[in-house]
């Protein structure tokens, strides 16, 4: 847990605050994204937590190792920083040290022995989808995306419960950023860190945050809430403008396919008799159906017009499915995938490629209408 209580920061010689009377609480195990226009005090707010900057007024409490809330201003800054993961956009890897030594920075400060540091570093690079022999390389021998991953790994080296991330994926191209975001979200499901995540990109804030803290210039808190609530009920005009006119569409980001799909779709077995299959499809009033094997693994699909008047087994008439969607994909990505392949409906599969459901554009449409209705209904 990270708790801001009426925190104000005025830089020496400045007349107006960079962070103004900020209060919010990040619950343990959640990601809170801080978002706002350039110069609104995001970085300042974050650095107040590990005391790279000291607050002018107010208090920040973090949950320490003994599970007690302690005021950071009463802690030794060096010890405090060693207990909090810190990751910045410019990464700041040490160019004269190997990846192993870079990741081992805080462990070494805490006097871990060499074997333990190496073990942990191997664990982390593997977690970051990189080969273990990268540990012997120097930062300049890695690509930008790989360096970014090492930056994240370095911040997680001692498994700190609280992490501060300042635009951690800001310096890489959109495709790699998307990959890193997804990787990190998957990881977060296991590691359950309490994270302050600074970004200037509202889409990233929505995607990564369990909570979003929207700041305005001058360090004023405009709204602190879950992404769904911020999109549904922006607190004021500033927030409304900031999240953008397409906020209804943005809400598609927040809903996962498994929440709206038809989880009992009409399926055919590969070993089914063709006549029987045609009967099944006629009865269900569908023109095509997905086909699975005994283990529910997706094999492809068949069209009713291809089967009519034929004999034999369904698997003889199989067409390969052009795409399938994972259970945890959000509706926006699902919709875009469906538009690309021009399918009316797409199979939803789990990690083992087993069919778990079916989704079509109508379901996505309905989900948008539903959430709009809820939002408007509540507002009146």
């Amino acid at each position: 847990m990270i708790k801001f209580e009426n925190v104000t920061k005025i830089y020496p010689g400045m007349s107006s605050p960079a962070v103004d009377n900020l209060s919010f609480t990040v619950p343990t195990g959640e990601i809170c994204t801080i978002v706002g226009p350039s110069g609104c005090g995001k970085t300042t707010a974050m650095k107040l937590v590990n005391r790279l900057i000291d607050a002018t007024d107010g208090a920040i409490h973090v949950l320490d190792e003994r599970d007690e809330m302690s005021n950071v201003l009463e802690m030794d800054p060096i010890q405090l920083r060693r207990s909090i993961g810190y990751i910045i956009q410019q990464i700041g890897l040490f160019p004269h040290r190997t990846i192993l030594e870079n990741i081992g920075t805080v462990p070494q400060l805490l006097d871990w022995d060499e074997a333990r540091i190496r073990h942990r570093a191997e664990e982390l690079v593997t977690m970051m989808n990189m080969p273990v022999d990268f540990l012997e390389r120097y930062p300049h021998e890695l690509s930008g995306g790989q360096r970014q991953r090492i930056g994240v790994a370095r911040g997680m080296a001692t498994d700190p419960p609280v992490m501060l991330m300042d635009e951690p994926f800001g310096a890489i191209d959109p495709i790699n950023r998307n990959i890193l975001q997804n990787e990190f979200l998957r990881l977060q499901q296991e590691i359950k860190k309490t994270i302050l995540f600074v970004t200037h990109d509202i889409d990233e804030a929505i995607k990564m945050g369990d909570k979003i803290c929207i700041l305005n210039v001058g360090g004023l808190l405009e709204q602190y809430d879950s992404p769904a609530n911020i999109l549904a009920y922006p607190a004021n005009e500033f927030v409304e403008d900031f999240v953008g006119a397409d906020r209804a569409l943005k809400r598609l980001n927040l809903v996962r396919v498994e929440e709206v799909m038809n989880s009992r779709p009409p399926l055919l077995q590969a070993t089914q008799d063709v006549k029987q299959a045609v009967g099944f499809m006629t009865e269900k009033k569908i023109r095509f159906a997905y086909v699975v094997d005994a283990a529910q693994t997706l094999k492809g699909y068949v069209r009713v017009k291809d089967l009519k008047g034929k004999t034999g087994w369904v698997e003889e008439y199989l067409e390969p499915a052009a795409t399938s969607i994972q259970l945890t994909t959000n509706l926006k990505d699902a919709l875009s995938e469906m538009l690309v392949v021009d399918y009316a409906n797409v199979c939803v599969v789990d990690g083992q490629n087993r069919v778990r459901g079916l989704i079509d554009t109508k379901m996505i449409h309905e989900s948008v209408i539903e959430s709009n209705a809820v939002a408007e209904g509540e507002e009146v």
Binding site: R81, I91, F94, P95, H96, Y138
Partner: protein, 263 residues
């Protein structure tokens, strides 16, 4: 696996051009030295006026050897003393609280540097007397600036993001200095030491004016006698030494390059 590729890469990188660059200069310098020795020095008759000017003992290999040793000793002592003082000073002016003054300090030092060395020698001869000590002092003074300046620049040039990451992870300022700033700035610092040493090779030739010996001895002996050959011996050998010192330190510097591609 990685060791291997590195080894082959390194081997492949040693081209004929490299081998030439490592040997051509030293070989050339040795040839010139031998020529100088044969053509200029051996023409001096033992017992002649020139010989007397050069000192009581015989002209020849031993006299040249002694002059070179004296010269090197002047440089070695003055440069080491300068490093011992200038590196801490350079570090100091990059610390918080001193940063604002670093420009001023370097400015003053810059002005000091532009005072002709002969004037410095003359002034301090009056205070410290003649001989080795005065020469070392003057050389030391001259070597300070390039080392202080490069130390400070080297540290200031360290990527601020690297420092921020180090601070944010809980390194103390001492740890940051020793583990991050110094290693990363060492190549620049070393370049300053190289400059200082090379400047000192030339300046040390003036040491002979105040009886500190060295290669300047030949020049000083040659001037009143109007014997160009003697002056040339001193001048050429000094130049050769400067080139060689620069060359050797340059080769060492090449080895120090840290992987600096922005990270």
């Amino acid at each position: 696996m990685k060791e291997d590729t590195n080894f082959w890469q390194r081997l492949r990188r040693i081209t004929i051009k490299d081998m030439m660059s490592w040997t051509v200069i030293p070989v050339l310098m040795i040839i010139v030295s031998v020529l100088v020795y044969n053509r200029l020095l051996l023409t001096i008759e033992p017992g002649s006026m020139e010989a007397n000017m050069l000192g009581s003992y015989e002209i020849g290999f031993k006299r040249v050897g002694d002059a070179i040793t004296e010269h090197l000793r002047l440089i070695l002592v003055s440069t080491s003393l300068a490093i011992a003082v200038a590196v801490p000073a350079g570090i100091l002016i990059t610390r918080q609280g001193f940063r604002d003054f670093s420009g001023l300090i370097l400015g003053v030092a810059n002005v000091g540097q532009s005072v002709p060395s002969i004037a410095i020698l003359a002034v301090f001869m009056g205070i410290l007397g003649i001989g080795f000590k005065t020469a070392v002092f003057a050389l030391w003074l001259y070597a300070l600036l390039p080392i202080v300046r490069n130390t400070a620049i080297g540290i200031e040039e360290v990527d601020p993001n690297v420092i921020e990451a180090a601070t944010g992870m809980g390194m103390t300022s001492r740890q940051i200095l020793l583990q991050i700033e110094l290693p990363l700035s060492f190549p620049v610092m070393f370049a300053g030491m190289r400059t200082a040493a090379v400047i000192n090779v030339g300046t040390a030739a003036l040491g002979a004016f105040i009886g500190a010996g060295g290669l300047g001895t030949f020049i000083i002996a040659g001037i009143p006698l109007m014997r160009d050959s003697l002056i040339l011996v001193g001048a050429i050998l000094t130049a050769i030494m400067a080139i060689l010192v620069d060359f050797i330190l340059g080769k060492i510097q090449d080895r120090l390059v840290v992987p600096t591609a922005s990270a």
